[in-house]
């Protein structure tokens, strides 16, 4: 390969020309979405959707697909979230809160054209309870196998085992499948193999193509639900790096990005065409302590640690967030903003340390965290730094989530510190209270070890009590007791950070499952 006489000039010219050529030939990428009258909304997310079964799948990515492809009796909308009709046109509740009667919308149809009847609703609930996976925990102990009956083709009745104040809030997460379709494909596992990749649904969208690990495309269905936006389709695109999501939304290659970090939001601050949504939501991030085994079983040590933690550092590292005030998310029904909680106070910390079993520190504690979750790593570093002041060493171990979950099974295997994100799947304090502080959840990652019978009693009363004001009082009591027990280091409530292109219209933020984008009402201009 010989160079020409003037290599410098020629090479530069050539580079410049080809660069310009490249740039001009890259079609403006917005055009792709608009070709041929198709209006396809592209969402960038990090999570895959390995399973389409509405009674098995969990995770926000699955919730996205399921809430768009399937229907439930009711939906939640708005901030604060309120239940609105979906499959159920109207409903009545008995005085004791144990009987709910839903009248189904007679227009409801499955994608295959067959009408959706009460039988399908009954079948779906029974299947969900039978399989006991996915979101079934939300209705466990409340809805039994015989609780749900079809009064007639258009009416469903629930006779709850116990009154449950949040019942309407959990219904959006139990979806209705076509009984005929599933029974025709039962196989040996109750239709799980079939529904893993196929849908038997009635919602506003159906699955057009699914490429595991890459993207999922939904097509708008001309179905029984009227109204909605002008989308012809939606693509859930898996983009594993949040920085890539940020750049894609900046360049208009995607319309919504759901996994952005605080640094990403800062970088998007004044970028043209980008709308930032930074809203508080009911998602808590705290570090659970092993209250049953090891040094952290000592209440004074837990209090010492709770006072020693550098809360400012955690808040700084979290970016767009608020400090938790107690065990319940700020703003939820029953939350007490005036609650006295632990804040950084080295004097008090040392005071409690002196009363503990290790008055001079000198011990080594372990913290496990999910390998790859950056916020947990940061939290760990702040904790390490804070504990140094008490002369306590921290061993930080990155682990795989399944291994961490397995460690929750017994107090002996549970680490001293265990960071946990608690998402409120439904906008009721019971969600967090029950999942995170009731002893029936011991052995699970949400509440591996903490058990206080007094707190249990309060939580159970709170679930059943129909009167709002009384519930608030119960939850205030509960929060105080939990804080006194200091089972967790109460951390932060990260704000939900989403970015949209400005040509996306109709988006309404709700502090529950806001990253599982509900697409029916969205439009692209």
């Amino acid at each position: 390969m010989h160079h020409s006489d003037n290599p410098q000039v020629n090479r530069r010219q050539w580079l410049g020309a080809s660069g310009a050529g490249l740039a001009s030939l890259v079609l403006p990428l917005d055009a792709f979405a608009q070709q041929g009258g198709r209006r396809v909304l592209v969402i960038a997310a990090t999570q895959d959707i390995p399973n389409f079964d509405p009674h098995i799948a969990t995770g926000y990515s699955a919730s996205f697909l399921l809430r768009n492809v399937y229907d439930a009796l009711v939906r939640v909308e708005g901030s604060p979230p309120k239940p609105v009709p979906e499959l159920a046109q109207s409903w009545t509740v008995s005085g004791d809160g144990k009987t709910y009667t839903f009248k189904l919308n007679p227009a409801a149809r499955f994608h295959n054209g067959k009408p959706l009847t009460a039988d399908d609703v009954v079948y779906s609930f029974k299947r969900a309870l039978r399989l006991n996976k996915g979101n079934a925990w939300m209705i466990q102990g409340v809805v039994g196998q015989d609780s749900v009956t079809a009064v007639d083709a258009g009416t469903v009745r629930f006779n709850l085992l116990k009154p449950f104040a949040a019942f309407l809030h959990v219904l959006p997460w139990i979806w209705v499948v076509s009984k005929a379709d599933v029974e025709a494909n039962l196989g040996s596992d109750d239709g799980q193999t079939y529904l893993r990749t196929q849908t038997a649904a009635s919602g506003g969208f159906k699955v057009r193509r699914a490429e595991a690990g890459n993207l999922y495309e939904l097509d708008r269905v001309d179905g029984w639900q009227k109204g909605g936006g002008n989308l012809t389709g939606v693509i859930w695109r898996i983009v594993r790096e949040t920085a890539s999501q940020r750049l894609l939304i900046q360049r208009g290659e995607v319309h919504i990005a759901v996994d952005l970090t605080s640094e990403d939001m800062d970088a998007l601050k004044d970028k043209p065409g980008v709308v930032r949504i930074i809203e508080p939501e009911y998602r808590t991030f705290s570090i659970k302590m092993n209250t049953r085994h090891g040094p952290m079983a000592d209440l004074d040590l837990r209090k010492a640690v709770s006072y020693a933690v550098n809360y400012k550092g955690i808040l700084d590292a979290a970016g767009y967030a608020d400090l938790m005030v107690g065990p319940l998310p700020n703003g939820i029904l029953g939350h007490n903003p005036q609650l006295a909680v632990y804040r950084t106070d080295m004097a008090k910390a040392k005071e409690h340390l002196a009363k503990s079993k290790s008055p001079n520190g000198g011990i080594k504690l372990t913290m496990a965290y999910v390998s790859g979750l950056e916020q947990q790593r940061r939290f760990g570093l702040v904790l390490l730094d804070s504990l140094k002041q008490l002369n306590i060493q921290l061993d930080i171990k990155p682990m795989l989530w399944p291994d961490m979950v397995a460690a929750c099974a017994k107090p002996e295997t549970f680490p001293d510190f265990f960071p946990v994100y608690q998402t409120a799947n439904y906008g009721d304090p019971d969600n967090v209270a029950f999942a995170a502080y009731h002893s029936s959840r011991n052995g699970n990652w949400q509440n591996a070890v903490y058990a206080n019978p007094e707190v249990d009693a309060l939580i159970e009363r709170g679930r059943a009590e129909p009167d709002s004001a009384k519930r608030v009082a119960i939850y205030r009591d509960m929060q105080q007791k939990v804080v006194a027990d200091a089972p967790d280091i109460f951390g932060v409530l990260e704000k939900r950070k989403l970015a949209l292109r400005d040509n996306v219209k109709g988006f309404q933020f709700a502090p529950v499952a806001s990253n599982a984008i509900e697409c029916f009402g969205l439009s692209l201009t």
Binding site: E241, A243, E263, E374, L381, K397, P398
Partner: protein, 299 residues
């Protein structure tokens, strides 16, 4: 020129050896690249040994954070700027040198040790032992090294030791082949036959007489491999396998810093450059050493 003739026989063997060394050193010093390599490697070794004491913010190496000073660009107080926890990137990079160099060294040593043993036995024993061991190491070569290392390291759990073991598993076949070849070549040498005639046992023959003489090519290969060992360690760190916080490691520093590009570029560029320079230095050095010890491979 004075007629200075060294007396024959008594002094010749020693001075011949030393002459070879001097010639080698001279040739080495001739190549500017090799000297540059030596300089870089020496700097690295220095950082590995005393880095934690020389670092401007040694507490950051232990995990201290300073969240008020996050993401500061390079300045006089922080030559390489600060990262997402306010830690000094320069100190972290210096600390990372120790991790990378030690881990790389461990990998190469383990691989060389295992490979030498296998290759030595194969070459010496011959017959079907040789065949079996060589087939095994050939097969090993066909398995993608990085995937294997990832799988083993992930299964063993976090920690530098596990990562080193995982990587060395793919490293030994190269040494096995090399040593086997050398052993085969030396097996029939005079001194070996002599020792055997006296009645020395096979193990002693192998360990005491043969292996020490095949060390030179092994050492050259080790120096050539150091660079890639460091690269592999950084690669695993980049995926998130290997060290646990707060240990600074260049690959994991780079992996975390990816999300902060392009705005906070210094968190990524400097660890990346460090990896490059370290590998480059060792490659230069290794190249130079190979020229010195194995002139056949030159030009």
């Amino acid at each position: 020129m004075s007629a200075e003739m060294s007396t024959p026989s008594a002094r010749r063997p020693r001075s011949a050896g030393r002459e070879a060394w001097r010639r080698g050193l001279y040739r080495f010093a001739q190549s500017r690249l090799s000297v540059l390599g030596l300089a870089i490697v020496s700097l690295l070794m220095l950082m590995a040994l005393v880095g934690p004491w020389l670092a401007p913010y040694p507490e950051h190496l232990e995990g201290a954070v300073s969240t008020a000073a996050r993401f500061q660009p390079p300045s006089a107080q922080h030559w390489f700027g600060t990262n997402e926890m306010g830690q000094d990137v320069f100190s972290l990079v210096m600390g990372g040198a120790r991790v990378s160099v030690l881990a790389g060294l461990a990998v190469v040593l383990l691989g060389a040790l295992a490979g030498t043993l296998v290759g030595g036995i194969a070459g010496f024993a011959g017959g079907w032992t040789d065949d079996l061991l060589m087939r095994l190491s050939d097969l090993k070569l066909t398995i993608p090294g990085l995937v294997l290392a990832m799988a083993v390291a992930a299964a063993l759990g976090p920690g530098i030791f596990n990562m080193v073991v995982a990587i060395s598993l793919s490293w030994w076949p190269g040494y096995a082949r090399l040593v086997r070849g050398e052993v085969l070549a030396r097996k029939e040498d005079l001194y070996v036959t002599a020792a055997r005639a006296i009645g020395a046992r096979p193990a002693r023959l192998l360990l005491v007489h043969i292996l020490p003489n095949v060390m030179t090519p092994v050492i050259v290969k080790m120096s050539l491999d150091m660079g890639f060992a460091i690269l592999t360690v950084a690669s695993l760190g980049f995926i998130g396998i290997g060290v646990k916080p707060p240990t600074p490691e260049w690959g994991s520093l780079l992996s975390v810093a990816r999300s902060y590009m392009p705005d906070f570029w210094w968190t990524a560029i400097f660890p990346g450059l460090a990896i490059f320079l370290a590998v480059f230095g060792f490659n230069l050095l290794g190249d130079g050493l190979r020229d010195v010890f194995d002139p056949r491979s030159r030009r």
